[in-house]
């Protein structure tokens, strides 16, 4: 009888996972997708526990959700800032590193 309860839990978990996965891949807003991805990761941790893989669950919770999420958010923020056309004035490397395709400039140098 506990078997059937477990199976019900399994099916519920799987459906949620699939739904989250689908949403995060298809939602139009990238930010929303990232948030969904974090929750997907947390749910995955649950799935790992269910699979009797506590090591993987810990790693998933810490790495998958805990670090990948912030990484995505940071990248998103960085890209948005680029999108606004904001420019950093400090480093020379950002000033178009493509001089090499430009013969005049190289020869002048």
């Amino acid at each position: 009888m506990s078997y059937s309860i477990l199976t019900c839990f399994d099916i519920l978990l799987i459906l949620t996972l699939l739904w989250l996965g689908w949403r995060l891949l298809s939602t139009e807003d990238i930010f929303k997708a990232v948030v969904l991805f974090i929750s997907f990761g947390l749910l995955m941790a649950l799935a790992w526990v269910r699979m009797r893989a506590p090591d993987v669950a810990l790693a998933e919770a810490a790495l998958g959700a805990g670090l990948t999420g912030p990484l995505f958010l940071a990248a998103l923020r960085r890209m948005k800032r680029i999108h606004k056309g904001e420019r950093r004035l400090d480093s020379d490397e950002n000033r178009g590193e493509d001089h090499e395709a430009d013969p005049e400039q190289t020869q002048a140098a």
């Binding site: 490397e93 590193e97 493509d98 090499e100 013969p103 140098a109």
Partner: protein, 506 residues
């Protein structure tokens, strides 16, 4: 204390561990990185020579990591093909290391962008050393999951190297390269999952002995092959290769074209003909051959149409990789021993010739500031050695005698004619002719004397830029003359190979 003797299997650890440590040190220290890298590459070369000696004297060896026998532990093994690939990596790597030194010191001399060039050099060495470790690990590994880790090691370092030039085009290409290589590794990993599920072991020897032929193994082999094909850039999965290779720095292009694609190809070949020979079918072989033929022709035609030297060389890589696959359908006649010699020869010759060619392209780029093919006139007089190297490398790419590629093409032709599959022979011949056209299209530009110039002074001589390319080109040219040696090494320790196909495939 255990001391290393000539017959100690532990020697085979050094080609992996030495570059690994060198990579760490190169990252840790910002000075003398070249010296560290050079020491590692030289030591690697010596150890590989020792390993070959070991193979010739004591035969194929296994080295068990941590003393754990498979299936529990990971093992490395040396055999003929693996050692030849190691040798190829060591020789090409040595030349590339020297060339990279010349390349960077030439560029750093250019004050306005010295900072950027300094940074490129700063990160080139650790990335290259770790890539070398990954490649050596890949060739030696005998564990299917360990191969996955080495693949990732190679993929990440290769993508980082490809982005090193900092040009937007190179970064975009590198991003795609990273994703593709990731996709390839994931597909490969999925294959491992299927394999583990059906066989329950990860060691290649055990997998070979199981000779499981069920649908799980078939699916696994298909998945792994697709993943590796993505990384090998076989037509039509080659789309990522030309931009990534052509936009990178010249030493990086040489590494990517000469070594990285060979790694995944080597695996693919090994899986097909050594580990799972009973799984493959004639239609699959013919399919691969067809793709290879398409790659030869398509790559060569694209190479002919390019306006930039590096792009041309990159497309030529696409074309040359096709030759490796066109050998597949010939397995039905010759068994895998002959096949190994074809592909190994092809790989060796191509690796040397192609890295020489990318070096030439880089040197020309450094001197002219561009690599537009139509404006290359007069280079013959400015960089005579470089142009000579280009010519010789071109001869090798065309497969003219006595280059190593000629030997490979000869074997291809005779196998295909002997098995009355003459259409493969026709493709090989037309591929050579197309290669002639694209090689000499550039060559003739080198020879043009610009209008109104009677005498061109040779450029300042930079030995480290010019000699490595020439040396590699010469090696690829004379590889054909010393063919008995590689064949001898190849026949060593691959007795299992010969037995696995007693009378050829069904």
């Amino acid at each position: 204390m255990i001391f290393l003797h000539a017959d100690t299997p532990a020697w085979m650890l050094f080609p992996i561990v030495l570059p690994l440590i060198a990579g760490l040190l190169c990252f840790l220290f910002s000075r003398r990185t070249f010296v560290i890298a050079l020491a590692a590459v030289l030591a690697n070369f010596l150890v590989v020579c020792l390993l070959i000696y070991q193979l010739l004297v004591f035969g194929s060896m296994r080295c068990h990591m941590g003393g754990w026998q498979p299936p529990l532990g990971i093992s490395l093994r040396t055999d003929g093909p693996a050692l030849l690939m190691l040798l190829m990596t060591a020789v090409t790597g040595l030349a590339i290391t020297l060339y990279a030194r010349g390349y960077f010191s030439y560029r750093i001399f250019d004050p306005p962008r010295a900072g950027r060039h300094q940074r490129q050099q700063r990160f080139f060495w650790p990335l290259w050393m770790l890539l070398l470790a990954g490649l050596n690990g890949l060739f030696l590994s005998n564990d299917i999951f360990n191969i996955y880790v080495t693949l990732e090691l190679i993929g990440i370092s290769a993508a980082s190297l490809a982005a090193l030039s900092g040009k937007p085009a190179s970064q975009l290409a590198s991003f795609r390269y990273l994703l593709i290589s990731l996709l390839g590794s994931l597909t490969y990993l999925l294959g491992i999952v299927f394999l583990y599920r059906s066989c329950g072991v990860l060691d290649l020897d055990l997998l070979q002995n199981l000779s499981n032929n069920g649908p799980g193994v078939r699916a696994a082999l298909a998945l792994m092959s697709v993943g590796l094909l993505l990384k090998t850039a076989l037509f039509p999965l080659h789309f990522w290769l030309p931009p990534a290779h052509a936009n990178a720095l010249a030493p990086v292009s040489a590494i990517l074209s000469a070594l990285v694609v060979k790694g995944s190809f080597y695996l693919l070949f090994r899986f097909w003909f050594e580990i799972f020979p009973s799984t493959i079918t004639t239609p699959a072989l013919n399919f691969m051959g067809t793709l290879g033929a398409a790659a030869i022709l398509w790559g060569a035609i694209q190479a002919m149409r390019q306006h930039r030297l590096k792009l041309m060389v990159a497309y030529s890589t696409v074309s040359q990789l096709g030759y490796l696959f066109i050998a597949f359908p010939l397995a039905r006649v010759d068994g895998s021993a002959q096949l190994w010699s074809i592909v190994i020869f092809m790989a060796l010759a191509h690796s040397c010739a192609k890295s020489a060619m990318f070096m030439v392209a880089g040197t020309v780029f450094l001197h002219l500031g561009h690599d537009r093919i139509k404006d290359l006139s007069g280079v013959r007089a400015t960089l005579p050695i470089t142009v000579f190297a280009y010519g010789i490398a071109g001869v090798s790419l065309m497969g003219l005698p006595p280059s190593g590629a000629f030997i490979a093409k000869w074997m291809l032709l005779s196998s295909s004619l002997a098995s009355s599959q003459w259409w493969w022979a026709l493709v090989v011949m037309s591929g050579s002719l197309l290669a002639m056209i694209y090689v000499f299209r550039v060559m003739s530009r080198f020879f043009v004397i610009p209008e109104g110039v009677s005498f061109i002074r040779p450029a300042p001589f930079s030995p480290l830029l010019e000699w490595p390319a020439l040396a590699l080109a010469l090696i690829s040219l004379f590889l054909g003359l010393v063919a008995p040696w590689p064949l001898h090494i190849l026949s060593q320790g691959s007795t299992a190979l010969a037995q696995s196909f007693p009378g050829g495939l069904p």
